[in-house]
Symmetry: C2
Subunit: 358 residues, 2 copies
């Protein structure tokens, strides 16, 4: 195992799209969404344990979730949990980890990954990442993982690549976030588009160069506190940086602008688990295409998801394409495929009933 | 107040039609179905307190519900609660009460009433009953309460009466249980049909004569233990009787056969609360005709009932004519108007999941 390999797991999301299964105090990454006896964060951690030494794994999260992370991942030490004082999207999160790792090891090569995605073909995934890490070690490139698409999904970002080599690592041409269905269909037909998994590989010098070039203000903030990182001054320094830092994603801030971006093409059974519909896709179904994660009886119902607590009996009749989520003090019954609607309901609940149900 | 007036409240039903709101250990009569801060039994008791001395009110129930009755009606003594060892429908229940009351007071005049119905116009109801009691005192007649129907309800029994006097108490021609819709419509049009409320008035000599004539075996069983009633031997004697007694309703066993049956016509806003649909009829609705008895937000939903526990938030979308009943360890989501279906689900739950959810 290469001691310069590092993994950064981003685990700060609130995952409001699985509301009410996920809640502010219990976001998606901490839940056993796949019903396998381990949370998504735990699955992610276990997956990456095979890639680098355990002490080279960092988890970035919000202060509010520090205890949840340490409880779920007892294998790591407290200083491997990077706490963001406020949520500022992925660019600051990745910058924090990158500057901290560089301070420790200027020769580091890093994988950056979300904590809340699903990977079906684990061993292939590991092989791809190891290949990427080796490839990125001495090259000044930013690599992103591209998943071979099997449907014109409109909820994902797409990466268009150049057909110019036999190598599975190709130069990126364009990024497109969440296309309309017609466009997504064209992407699929064209054959040179893959889904953007939001998983990145690079050596630390290269990503910091990219920050300096494309997000110079942000780079300067972290450059100024580099001496404080990995010391007892880190917390205070980070609080200062985050009090002025701008909200920006790594995709928008760097990946879509840089000209040294490459994509590793792969097919590892990936899902961002970003919606109830994606959960339905990935889970085992009964003969009427229902996903039943409850003690339930379903009559004349199909294409639905039923989630309920242990011990509770749920009886449904006449629901097609519905979500029934009975989670603690919230019961949501709605059409499962309209994510925008569900987000609107969450917003309405917040306005009318207060934060306690969110 | 006439000391010979008695009231018998039948409170032994299990009310499985409101499942899962009603459960075996918590039948309908013990629930605050109307949301007024009192159970149906309590409402019934309070209503009849105005008709006779409190010590003349008897409540017949199952042994399993003795404590529930005494807790809900602290005004009565234990010997006013008649305990049936097994459920044998209304004829044995009424016979038990009748023979017991006769043993105490041969001049008694009785009202017999279910514990789990709703009466909207209370004071009119009381007046009607007082009139009926006075009328039945010296007449050898069986009186039943007939409710002026306002719709062709197929879930009720109908009483056809003779148009032969100006008196509000008319001789009964026929009984018809739960007619088909077409027939129910004809009944309404004809003008000489009323709903059978299952509330009866008679003097105790007359009902016992009717038992002797139409159900002689049953009459003999109770005649034989008359000496034991109102003594410490009562419990044992009743257990013996109930071990051999046949299941039969007062309607089928006596009312439909006797030729001295009269009906008091009235319009007191009555509902037998026998179905979720009848509950929907009687309750306050929101602008989309939903009955919401929960902390709920309803989107694009109408003609539905939502029942949930305090503190729980229920969000529904796209449900028309549904019942959502979140009650303890059972959640039922189904179309609200098909009672036969709901009964089938209850049966299926019993078969597949066991009695504990019933």
């Amino acid at each position: 195992m290469n001691n310069h390999f590092y993994v950064v797991i981003m685990a700060g999301g609130i995952g409001s799209r699985f509301w009410p299964y996920s809640r502010n105090n219990r976001p998606k990454q901490f839940l056993d969404v796949l019903g396998v006896g381990a949370s998504l964060l735990q699955l992610t951690f276990r997956r990456f344990r095979n890639i680098c030494p355990i002490e080279n794994i960092y988890i970035v999260t919000s202060e509010a979730y520090e205890n949840a992370v340490l409880e779920q991942i007892p294998e790591i030490f407290k200083d491997q949990v990077l706490l963001e004082p406020t949520r500022r999207n992925t660019a600051p999160c990745i910058a924090y980890a990158s500057y901290k790792i560089r301070q420790k090891d200027p020769d580091a090569i890093m994988v950056v990954t979300p904590a809340d995605h699903a990977i079906i073909k684990e061993s292939e995934f590991i092989e791809v990442l190891k290949h990427g890490l080796q490839y990125a070690q001495d090259r000044e490139i930013l690599i992103t993982l591209g998943i071979h698409p099997d449907r014109p999904e409109t909820g994902y970002g797409y990466i268009q690549f150049h057909f110019d080599s036999e190598n599975a690592i190709k130069k990126v041409k364009t990024f497109t976030e969440k296309p309309e269905l017609e466009l997504a269909k064209k992407f699929i037909e064209s054959g040179d588009f893959v889904w953007n998994a939001g998983i990145f590989i690079w050596n630390v010098r290269t990503i910091i160069k990219a920050f300096e070039k494309h997000l110079p203000e942000l780079a300067e903030l972290f450059e100024n506190i580099t001496g404080d990182l990995n010391s007892e001054k880190e917390k205070k320094a980070i609080q200062k940086v985050y009090s002025v830092i701008k909200i920006i994603s790594i995709d928008y801030g760097i990946m879509e602008k840089a000209d040294n971006v490459f994509v590793i093409l792969t097919d590892v059974g990936w899902s961002d688990l970003g919606s109830w519909a994606s959960l339905h896709d990935i889970k085992e179904k009964d003969k009427n295409n229902n996903v039943i994660e409850a003690n339930a009886l379903a009559y004349e119902s199909g294409n639905s998801i039923v989630i309920g607590p242990k011990g509770k009996l749920i009886v449904i009749e006449g629901l097609d394409g519905y979500l029934v989520a009975d989670c603690d003090d919230v019961l949501l019954i709605c059409k499962k495929d309209n994510e925008a609607r569900i987000r609107a309901y969450v917003k309405d609940v917040r306005n009318k009933k207060g934060d306690k149900y969110i």
